[in-house]
């Protein structure tokens, strides 16, 4: 099967049909859930604090539902209106935004305590329009994300890198935007179960230290 990000831009690929299909597919649901829990684990947020999270590429709210269950308050954004429509119908708790993260984000500095993103980053590496430059878009994305996170916050991205070059481009861009961190690979020896998580830290304050 060819990679969906090679077939059409995300706002076209996830049309009404695809959005519904994606959301009602139980296999996708369970994989998404598993990756969301793992991302939350990697975020290692302080316990018993109601953190404010950003879900980048929230889609139809599959991961958002888990954030709801876990008691987080969250904001989700996605470039596909059809996906967001499904999220509305599913009555997720988070506030939703129609946004192309490659154009940067509009949140006030220090807004979020953490960010998660499931299966989105690879889409950003595409040049879907003639004016798109993956490097510029990644830079815009990571730099505005960096500022919208509070100091010491983490961002965890599960993604499907296409090759080493792409991985490197993503990592280098994130580091240039001020992030620290690295790649976590789960099940590295299983072709099917292998999962990449990019874990980024905004600012270098020690975990557990309260920031103002």
């Amino acid at each position: 099967m060819s990679r969906p990000e090679h077939q059409a831009p995300p706002e076209i690929y996830y049309n009404d049909d695809e959005a519904k299909k994606y959301t009602s597919n139980t296999r996708i649901q369970s994989v998404q859930a598993e990756m969301t829990y793992r991302a939350l684990e990697l975020l290692s947020l302080p316990e018993n604090e109601s953190s404010f999270l950003l879900d980048i590429g929230c889609g139809s709210g599959l991961s958002g539902e888990i954030l709801d269950e876990e008691g987080y308050i969250w904001v989700g954004m996605d470039i596909s209106p059809a996906m967001l429509q499904v999220a509305l119908e599913r009555e997720v708790e988070g506030d939703l935004f129609l946004q192309d993260v490659g154009q940067g984000m509009a949140f006030r500095p220090g807004t979020f305590d953490g960010a998660i993103s499931i299966s989105v980053l690879q889409w950003l590496c595409n040049a879907d329009h003639t004016s798109h430059n993956p490097k510029t878009r990644l830079t815009r994305f990571f730099s505005t994300l960096y500022s919208s996170l509070r100091r010491g916050a983490r961002a965890v991205f599960q993604f499907y890198p296409e090759n080493d070059d792409q991985c490197e481009l993503i990592m280098n861009t994130a580091m240039r935007c001020g992030f620290e961190g690295g790649l976590v690979v789960d099940y590295p020896n299983s072709k099917k179960a292998k999962k990449y998580f990019l874990c980024l830290f905004a600012g270098q304050s020690a975990p557990g230290v309260k920031q103002q």
């Binding site: 953190s51 954004m77 429509q85 939703l96 940067g104 509009a106 220090g110 329009h129 509070r150």
Partner: protein, 117 residues
């Protein structure tokens, strides 16, 4: 919590000004801890201005001093109403600097920019 993100629009781009709004209030669980966590992140003036735009005047113009242990329950309840229960269903948000208009439909702000921007 939003500012304009049009390229090159970096100053005086906050708060986005609401107009032609349609509001819906949806009850949700009251979570004082979350609110306490949010207070230091808020630009109070912007919050007051925005709240007034949608017809809420229950917040004090100046953030109360006693922001430690015993925050006034009433104050937190009002903040909860504004931050978590008041949803702009339809409307427009205009950047005070570049005048870019972001429209809100079905409660979802459209933050897309023209690619040339």
């Amino acid at each position: 919590m939003l500012q304009c993100h049009a390229r090159g629009c970096n100053t005086n781009n906050f708060p986005l000004e609401l107009s032609e709004v349609e509001i819906q209030v949806l009850e949700t669980d009251y979570n004082p801890q979350f609110l306490r966590n949010m207070i230091p992140k808020l630009d109070w003036n912007a919050l007051v201005v925005t709240a007034k735009k949608v017809g809420i005047t229950a917040v004090p113009d100046v953030l109360p001093e006693t922001m430690n242990e015993d925050i006034d329950e009433n104050f937190l309840r009002n903040l909860h109403r504004i931050l978590l229960e008041t949803h702009v269903q339809q409307g427009k948000m205009t950047c005070p600097n570049c005048k870019h208009v972001y429209s809100i439909r079905d409660g979802i702000p459209n933050m897309l920019l023209n690619d040339e921007a």
